[in-house]
């Protein structure tokens, strides 16, 4: 089942995908373009992995890490499907990152990799934008690069764990203005989902609605104001985002 959180008719609803429409919990059936998409869950702690695809690590001139390179993201950065991401006027290199998002379903501590999927509620798609102009070498990638307002589209929905036979063999693609710019497969992750859950839960407690963004394959190119960026994970979802500029913000 695919479950979304949306705003419709002046209220927030849980909805499920139903024959190309959305079915609200009160039984109403609405068209997708008539709703405002929120993030499919309200994320608690969000982990993101850097350099978790060997080809992307090479692209950034890094050798593959020997232990997961993990950073955290705050709630300010998340937006839903069909929303807008801000590109500051003075930057030169802002790129999307198509990622499989894993949503934790229950409290997890010291989990062994063979049990890891028991703690997964489902999957979604995230676009973990980075603005490379702001990269600095302190706690890199730093929050100014990775935790900006509006810079992490997440959605459109969460797909139940049991509906995905093998999450480690899914195609990832990014299209900018209908042009294919990034392509990869989750099969190429350096640390797979069970290893990441084993690693994180070895030193901290994970809880329901914690989210793990599992990293992105190679294929980063600069995106500009007006670009429509579609990040898609096979069988999970197609996440649409549009880049807007400072002129949309009066405080810019």
């Amino acid at each position: 089942m695919r479950r979304a959180r949306i705003a419709y008719g002046g209220a927030i609803h849980e909805a499920i995908e139903w024959e190309g429409f959305l079915k609200l919990e009160d039984g109403r059936i609405v068209e997708e373009h008539n709703v405002s998409w929120l993030t499919p869950i309200e994320p608690r702690t969000v982990f993101a992995l850097g350099l978790n695809y060997a080809d992307h690590a090479a692209e950034l001139a890094f050798s593959a890490p020997s232990e997961p390179l993990v950073f955290l993201k705050g709630p300010n950065t998340f937006i839903g499907h069909q929303a807008y991401t801000r590109r500051p006027a003075n930057v030169t290199y802002m790129h999307y990152e198509c990622e499989l998002a894993v949503i934790i379903g229950k409290t997890a501590r010291s989990v062994k990799r063979e049990d890891a999927y028991k703690y997964v509620k489902g999957y979604s798609v995230a676009n973990d934008y980075a603005i490379r102009d702001y990269l600095e070498n302190y706690y890199r990638p730093n929050l100014r690069v990775k935790n900006r307002d509006t810079c992490t589209p997440f959605g459109p929905w969460i797909v139940d764990m049991k509906d995905i036979a093998d999450p480690m063999n899914l195609k990832l693609t990014t299209h900018v203005n209908n042009q294919l710019v990034q392509e990869g497969t989750t099969a190429d992750m350096i640390f797979d989902i069970p290893s990441i859950i084993e690693y994180l839960s070895s030193f901290m407690t994970l809880s329901e609605n914690d989210v793990i963004l599992t990293g992105t394959p190679k294929g980063s190119v600069d995106t500009v104001v007006g670009d429509v960026v579609v990040t898609e994970v096979e069988g999970i979802g197609r996440l649409v985002n549009t880049i807007i500029g400072d002129d949309s913000f009066t405080n810019g």
Partner: protein, 288 residues
């Protein structure tokens, strides 16, 4: 002559200051009492560590405080002059290559939240923990791209945060494994109203381990002052009501071990006490 006048004036002011300091007694605060759903208002005396709630007077130790925070806690690295100076020339060498430009931030996730009086779990296989004494700015309203003049008005109040970490030398990669262990972020005991603090950039911070003074610094040593930090952070990242921004950890943070009683004091805010115990399932989950 003018100098003399000024000196007299300063002395007089100082005299008044001492006087008022003696009289100045209770500060308005909000606190979370364990088992109560809402924050309660109280008057606290940060010197005697006493609390007045609805005409009843308590010693802070008689109250079971809960974490007074529900939002996201953001830490700031290298914001004390001494902390950056300690890196010395290393900032120009690999892997850093240049001194930091923007505030270096990190997140203390929800599993780290801990409360006044509770145990800080010593992770299995670790023997020393670093005690990060931090002034916490509790955000009172949505702060987006604030300016320096009004920055302080976004603060609801101040609290004390023990930003515990597993000691680590390198600050090149995000230190999630070091900062994000269960129970590594005691917060409290209360939130002192913003209006009770004349100047957040002039507060003495002391760390006592087993009642012995182990560190003393002042927020006057910050690289980015409190208003400046809020400006530079909210330029790219909205802070919401209930979030907490830590102003930084002074250099040479003391280390502590199992059995140690930790007390962080910040003038005008209060003192936060915790003890380090061996990790157990219970203290990891914060149930004791």
């Amino acid at each position: 002559m003018f100098k003399l006048l000024l000196a007299n004036l300063l002395e007089f002011n100082f005299f008044i200051f001492i006087l008022t300091k003696g009289v100045k007694r209770m500060s308005s605060a909000k606190m979370k009492v364990l088992g109560k759903r809402e924050l309660v208002f109280g008057e606290v005396n940060t010197k005697t560590n006493t609390v007045k709630i609805k005409d009843n007077k308590f010693n802070a130790n008689e109250i079971q405080f809960d974490t007074p925070i529900t939002g996201t806690v953001f830490g700031t690295l290298l914001n004390y002059k001494g902390a950056l100076e300690r890196l010395g020339d290393a900032v120009n060498n690999e892997p850093y290559n240049s001194p930091p430009i923007a505030p270096v931030l990190y997140i203390k996730p929800a599993n780290t939240f801990n409360r006044y009086g509770a145990a800080i779990p010593m992770p299995i296989g670790i023997t020393k923990l670093e005690i990060g004494a931090a002034l916490g700015l509790v955000i009172g309203k949505k702060a987006v791209a604030v300016d320096e003049e009004t920055a302080l008005t976004y603060i609801a109040g101040y609290t004390i945060v023990n930003d515990v970490s597993v000691p680590h030398e390198s600050v090149f990669r995000p230190a999630v494994q070091h900062h994000a262990r269960d129970g590594f972020c005691p917060i409290g005991p209360w939130i002192i109203d913003r209006h009770e603090v004349d100047n957040p950039d002039d507060l003495i911070i002391r760390v006592f381990i087993n009642d012995k003074l182990r560190q003393e610094s002042s927020t006057s040593n910050l690289i980015r002052t409190v208003p400046r930090l809020l400006v530079d952070v909210t330029e790219f990242m909205t802070l919401s009501k209930g979030d907490v921004l830590l102003v930084g950890i002074p250099e040479e943070a003391p280390q502590a071990q199992v059995g140690d009683k930790i007390r962080i004091e910040i003038t005008g805010i209060g003192s936060l006490e915790n003890v380090i115990l061996e990790e157990t399932e219970n203290n990891r989950r914060g149930t004791i």
